[in-house]
Amino acid sequence: MIPLSNFLVLSALLFAIGFYGVLARRSAILILMSVELMLAAVAINFIAFATYRDPKAFTGLVFALFVIAVAAAEVGLALGIVLRLYREHRTGYVDEANSLKW
């Protein structure tokens, strides 16, 4: 049996790597990919606690399912925004999209 702390350490490392990506990348889509990594780390944490701490209560599993659904919605919406930004201003880099109104 694998101890719970293994899963927690794995998800912590994955979260930190995703956080590095969010800070270090400048292209909006690459930042989005890093956010996906962070969300996957959070979902691992939810499911690990749910299965190890209280297998009868489904809250953690359902929460992880909703995290996945919300992440899919977020990706769709964010890519729509990035496409519009690119079409109207010819840039996909968050550094250059630094004003709220053109």
């Binding site: 702390s5 994955l14 790597i17 800070l23 399912l65 919300v70 992440a71 925004i81």
Partner: protein
């Protein structure tokens, strides 16, 4: 021999380099793990866990450091499939299947379309100083804090229990029906918003905006 295959030159180079790098990284890890298994130091389940963890961590590092965006997206696929393997180890098959379908299928396709419809060929040339050392420092601090906290805590443990599909579905749609409806509405709103943002403006709208 490779020249005769009907592949674009760029594609076969990419495939060869990618599989070479992946094999060079994965091969030694797998060998070490198999040796540990043969010596009886780790069990089969632990071998699967460490292999999946290696796939996840190396894929994640590739996804945030490789400058070619398509290669980074491929690393992201490896990471997300590894996460599905971790879900299988945690005995939640349904969420593993959802992970493969939604992330491995839908999200990756969306991201690749986004990369190809914009000019995100690489990270832009930086003129105002690199932010990578700062980001690395913050990431290392975060990882150190989390790992230290999680290793020092004591969790009361119960063994994981397999949740059958049938019971999972019953619980979701009976006890969590309101959140399911809320998520359905959220998805509806999000994709309507994505459509409104991503469609091409019609000719009448652009002329009105020009006035």
């Amino acid at each position: 021999m490779l020249a005769r295959l009907p592949l674009p030159a760029q594609l076969d180079r990419t495939i060869m380099t990618g599989s070479l790098v992946a094999g060079l990284v994965a091969g030694p890890i797998l060998l070490i793990l198999l040796a540990l298994l043969a010596m009886g130091r780790i069990s089969g389940v632990q071998l699967v866990f460490y292999a999946a963890a290696a796939v996840i961590l190396f894929g994640a590092i590739g996804a945030v450091t490789i400058s070619n965006v398509v290669h980074a997206a491929m690393c992201l696929i490896a990471t997300l499939l590894g996460v599905a393997g971790i879900y299988l180890l945690l005995l939640t098959e349904f969420i593993a299947l959802v992970q493969v379908l939604v992330y491995g299928g839908g999200v990756i396709i969306l991201v690749l379309f986004g990369l190809m419809l914009t000019n995100a060929a690489a990270d832009p040339v930086v003129t105002d100083g690199s932010q990578k050392p700062f980001a690395f420092g913050i990431g290392a601090l975060l990882a150190g804090t989390f790992v230290a906290a999680m290793l020092s805590a004591q969790w009361g443990l119960t063994a994981p229990v397999l949740v059958p599909f049938r019971i999972f579905g019953e619980r979701i749609f009976r006890d969590f029906s309101v959140p399911v409806i809320v998520v359905a509405i959220l998805l509806d709103i999000a994709f309507t918003g994505a459509f409104v943002n991503a469609r091409r403006p019609e000719a009448s709208e652009t002329t009105e905006a020009a006035k």
